[in-house]
């Protein structure tokens, strides 16, 4: 089954660290590039969607909501949505696909903007949810008060268990990190451009064992825009539409980071299984992979979740050279979030689209026609299969 929705344009601002540029400046730059990419004008945009919407619970995590962006860009819309509580950072893309498939809009501008780099200070770090709040509720109340404040802690105990069960070592995660850096060095948009060797990786300071500095993605300032169009409207765009072949958003366990019976799996496994039930395509049909790498350990989880290898086999799959430059299943060809910066999944999807349009320059995967994108870590996940006909 194919959804009647396609991606027709993508755009990214000049990603940077401590840019001191307002989030909206990044957003406008990304929006202009996405419209140029799609061959559309502002008047064509009749929908807008984002994740999570304007939020101030973590510094710089989401400075812009749909309202401000509508105001700034002078948009008149027939559909708008901000999704804090959906299938991961992919939620707005999925909502947009449903909006165009049901006729609520024809071209939806989906965006993600972050200023986490500029927002960090000596006493205030990015990505510490609930920081500075006296009382905390929901699933976070079982983590943050225990001093498990950072997602690196939560991913850290997942990795410890995975290492224990399957014999993975830091070198395997080092291959993920150095492979993505090698891709980043072929991508002018990637924020980390210096070489990263296995020695550099292994010698870096520990953050939350077994995850070290280079297992963690990079907080940045920047924005990314993805335009989702209805099937008939997509035909008028500048590029071949990237058809959304299937999406998966299933969740099978509680909204927690510690109660899932088997923490060597995560929400990605539920969402991926659901996605493959909606298509005749198979993992072997995929040319390019865009897998959430907020922490390096999520990459082997996603590889297994999506069925590129069996449970516990990712370490060998990685060591055999499948996912780096020149591999059969290249992962995060733009450098991922580890080397490209934390755009919360949008940067990964941006790169998958670039590859499918053949615009990957030095890092282009030959004749890439099908891409899979998986976003999210822990209990939350969304996955999407894209194809160029």
């Amino acid at each position: 089954m194919t959804m009647k929705a396609s991606i027709t344009g993508v755009g990214m601002s000049q990603i940077g660290r401590r840019t001191e540029r307002p989030a909206m400046a990044h957003l406008v730059e990304a929006a202009k590039r996405a419209l140029d990419c799609a061959g559309l004008t502002r008047a064509d945009i009749d929908g807008i969607a984002t994740y999570p919407g304007k939020a101030d619970n973590s510094p710089g995590m989401s400075p812009l909501g749909t309202g401000e962006v509508r105001n700034a860009l002078g948009l008149k819309t027939r559909w708008h949505s901000a999704v804090p509580d959906g299938p991961s950072q992919m939620a707005p893309i999925m909502v947009a696909a449903m909006a165009v498939a049901t006729g609520q809009a024809r071209h939806v501008l989906c965006f993600r903007a972050l200023t986490e780099s500029s927002s960090q200070t000596a006493t205030q770090r990015a990505s510490i949810p609930g920081s500075g709040k006296p009382r905390i509720g929901g699933w976070l109340s079982h983590l943050v008060p225990a001093n498990a404040m950072s997602a690196s802690n939560w991913a850290g105990w997942m990795a410890t268990r995975y290492f224990h069960e399957f014999g993975m070592t830091r070198e395997h995660l080092g291959m993920v990190a150095t492979g993505e850096r090698a891709f980043a060095q072929m991508n002018p948009l990637a924020v980390m451009q210096s070489p990263l060797t296995m020695d550099d990786y292994l010698q870096a300071r520990m953050i939350s064992s077994p995850l070290g500095l280079f297992d963690c993605d990079v907080p940045i300032d920047g924005a990314c825009v993805v335009i989702v169009s209805a099937a008939d409207a997509a035909k008028d765009c500048a590029r071949e539409p990237l058809v959304i072949e299937a999406m998966g958003a299933a969740l099978g366990s509680q909204e927690t980071w510690d109660q899932r019976a088997d923490l060597t799996t995560m929400g990605a496994h539920d969402a991926s299984a659901d996605m493959w039930q909606r298509t005749d395509m198979k993992p072997g049909d995929v040319d390019v992979l865009a897998l959430y790498d907020g922490f390096s350990i999520f990459v082997p989880y996603w590889l297994e979740a999506l069925g590129f290898c069996g449970h516990g086999e990712a370490k060998d799959f990685i060591a055999e050279g499948n996912i780096g430059p020149g591999g059969r299943f290249p992962v995060n060809t733009g450098g991922g979030q580890l080397s490209g910066g934390r755009l919360h999944g949008f940067g990964l999807l941006h790169e998958a689209c670039i590859q499918l349009w053949g615009d990957g320059g030095e890092r282009q995967v030959a004749d890439a026609r099908t891409a899979v994108c998986g976003m999210g870590g822990g209990f939350i996940a969304g996955s999407m299969l894209l194809r160029r006909d």
Partner: protein, 131 residues
């Protein structure tokens, strides 16, 4: 200072049991399901007859991580966080800071027992080695 959990009708027993040195876990009186995090309704049978009971307060380390990064200005590092399978409550894990032990000594399978840190009206569970 670390943020504290909001006390609600369903979680009050869990967060205050430490006042009597008890690890309180929610159970369904009708179908006997163990419910964690605590809920007002049983997710298995939708019964509203939920009861919190003291369990032995021991458990086995399912996984752990050693945190080295000071995420808050007053955070002392390194320390271990342990995800512990709780005895007498099948499927329930309590994740908490490890105290009274060298962080580097923590291992999967290690036996732990609960202790509590009282801050305001909350007793935060902490794990220490059982022997």
């Amino acid at each position: 200072m670390r943020p504290l959990p909001e006390l609600t009708p369903e979680n009050r027993a869990f967060w205050t049991g430490g006042a009597e040195d008890k690890l309180m876990i929610a159970f369904c009186k009708d179908c006997t399901a163990v419910i964690h995090p605590p809920q007002l309704v049983c997710p298995k049978c939708w019964s509203e007859a939920i009861d919190s009971r003291a369990v032995s307060g021991t458990g086995t380390v399912y996984s752990f991580t050693i945190n080295h990064q000071p995420w808050a200005p007053d955070m002392k590092v390194p320390f271990a966080l342990a995800v512990v399978d709780v005895d007498d409550a099948p499927g329930v894990r309590v994740t908490a800071e490890v105290v009274n032990a060298d962080p580097e000594s923590i291992a999967i399978g290690q036996r732990m027992r609960i202790t509590f840190l009282n801050v305001e009206n909350v007793w935060l569970p902490q794990w220490e080695p059982a022997s």
